[in-house]
Symmetry: C2
DNA sequence: ATCATCCTTGAAAGCGCTTACAAGTGCTGG
DNA sequence: CCAGCACTTGTAAGCGCTTTCAAGGATGAT
């Protein structure tokens, strides 16, 4: 056995039709389940298809129906849970809609623009992260061709954007720290790296209500960068009693290194993050952070894209999903066990920004 | 402006040719960069393409060249870093090879077999995780049609498999625990859930060298399951001085809950995991675990698949990549700071199993 | 028995692109 | 000045599928 009958590229709709003794039209109708076929014919076709192990050629169908039945998704990378969750939500919804998803990871690619163009070639529309610098180019290049949707970025004419609330959440988080009596807060992360980080920084500044705030510590998001920043803190180069980090990865690595260096968290310095990654609730003290509805963001993206592909016009402006403050020990709150995710439901508080906004809020959860 | 010229599905190779005043063949040649075109023509075509904002229809090309230029990847889910890394490696390599990747997440799908069949329709070959129960069916259904490759599963005739070392690593890890004087080890995780977990359990048993071992604690991989198991431990229902967990998620949730319940790790009980996720090095004590070359596995999968698509015959049996023991505090070793990943290079130790094996080893890293 | 109707089927015309193949152009060497 | 060659270009034949349209067969009403 194992008659190594490698690669049998045959078995087209023609061979199936021939074996079944019907026309290719009938085969097509049976395969699509489009009806109008007698039971007898259906049986014959199904039998023939099974015998030949018929796998239709998607490209031929796509060409004929003039639809790829696929959604493209461009992510910068896939480190950490943020992008994974986004992808999960996106894929799940896309699959429900009968669409395949073609994934492109931008980081490390030589020529992202080229790859995105290639991608556009095989999908009906695509979703990109706002932090991707190619967004604009692509938007232009594809304008009027394929629907494009941006997550956590700025809307442009004809290009819808969706995102999670940043400004208000960051403001509340910062205010919370101020409420704990912290006075020298430092924002760690580069606002220029992504629009949502910029929004968080804005919220951070806003919470200071005019008080002068130091410049943000512009470092990348990697663990290693957090660690080396923590070393600078340990060396006494940095003056602060609280670090507001652009994401949890950064917060965790900083906190860990500081603790190793003998600094007490939160007694000596508070550390807070953003995203509520898994590790955030396993470290001691638990990391205070902000939870985003990332999976929903992914689902929503797939949904909106599908609408657009079906011909709906781009909605104007930005749709914003609410985020949720998660208070644990690292900000100075009384530490409490937090083995299960908090489950408070978010109720919109109805704030608005200059841009058209549909809903936005942040709810407080003590865990 | 923003002349909302929604959806301009036009601009085919014909319109470009017409605008440029050349034949479609020339346009095709320019777009493919296949050469044999004068500079003047190239310029005209490029200009026309840009003006029309020409996006070629991938399906038409695929049909003509009879290649999808896409790799399919079927993952059970995307929780935790394991699958993400796999995906990163896979996508990276596939992109280098000029292939798109179409992703399918099996969990939560009504009819996975159907979805996989749909996927097969639009890719040149596909890679599946061994833990997927559809593997066999699909393998059959696609046999001789499209190359299929399995990660962390069992090879079948005509279906290559690749994976990371499990048996030996688990054996060493277990022996290490025994070396610390632990006597009542418990394996936490269900060997039936995936072939690689089964292998680890085998290694666990083997390390006991004939001593009787208790049945594994057959629980799923979710954090919540770990927590409720830990509650049983705290309730006194479980007798053990070390937990060998099927993965880090499980280990972390158990350790965390135990600590909250006043159990000291590793003094009262040791806990070890598998995978070396990020959180493993931020918790206190650091989690002793086994690192798998997951990204490499993904790359290798894309590579092998590409070979097969190009016509290479399936390699026989299983290729195994080495894993690496990472000792931190949770097993009873002296705790040491471990902010950076260990970087010891693996040297094959040349062990073999019944199956054809290419290389396998586990190296020790103290961190 | 006749005709209108419905259901089933097949023939055939694309879908937009690639790629032989043939034809045309401008050179070079003899 | 022309045969021979290298380049460029265009023509046209598919790639495998969907779908329109018309034809045929069966059915029911009259």
């Amino acid at each position: 056995m194992a008659k190594d009958r490698q690669r049998d590229p045959g078995a087209t709709i023609y061979s199936v039709a021939e074996l079944a003794g019907v026309s290719i039209a009938s085969v097509s109708r049976v395969m699509q389940g489009s009806g109008g076929v007698s039971d007898k014919t259906r049986q014959k076709v199904l039998a023939a298809a099974k015998e030949l192990n018929y796998v239709p050629l998607g490209a031929a169908r796509s060409l004929a129906v003039r639809h790829h039945e696929a959604h493209g998704l461009v992510l910068p990378e896939l480190a950490g849970p943020y992008y994974s969750e986004l992808l999960i939500g996106f894929e799940t919804r896309a699959a429900e809609l009968g669409q395949s998803v073609v994934l492109l990871l931008a980081d490390g690619k030589r020529d992202v623009a080229r790859d995105v163009r290639r991608l556009a070639t095989r999908v009906d529309g695509l979703v990109m992260l706002g932090s991707l610098c190619v967004t604009d180019m692509v938007a232009q290049g594809l304008h009027g061709k394929k629907p494009v949707l941006v997550i956590a970025g700025h809307p442009q004419p004809g290009i819808e954007a969706i995102g999670a609330e940043n400004h208000q959440g960051a403001r509340e988080l910062t205010a919370h720290l101020l409420g704990h009596g912290r006075r020298r807060l430092l924002f760690v992360g580069d606002p220029a790296s992504a629009p949502d980080v910029a929004d968080r920084y804005e919220g951070f500044v806003a919470a200071h209500e005019g008080e002068p705030t130091p410049d943000p510590v512009r470092i990348p998001f990697r663990e290693a960068d957090g660690a080396s920043f923590a070393d600078r803190v340990l060396g006494g180069d940095v003056e602060a009693d609280a670090f507001v980090c652009a994401n949890d990865e950064l917060a965790l690595s900083i906190m860990s290194r500081l603790q190793d260096g003998g600094v007490r968290v939160p007694e000596d310095v508070a550390v807070v993050g953003w995203d509520d990654v898994m590790a955030a609730r396993y470290v001691r003290p638990g990391l205070t952070t902000v939870r985003q509805p990332v999976k929903e963001l992914g689902r929503l993206a797939a949904d909106r894209l599908h609408e657009r592909i079906a011909g709906a016009p781009a909605r104007e402006g930005l749709e914003i999903l609410p985020t949720q403050l998660v208070l644990r020990g690292s900000c100075g709150c009384a530490a409490a066990p937090d083995a299960k995710p908090a489950t408070a439901s978010a109720k919109p508080s109805g704030r608005t920004t200059g841009r058209p906004v549909r809903k936005a809020s942040s709810k407080r959860t003590t865990a």
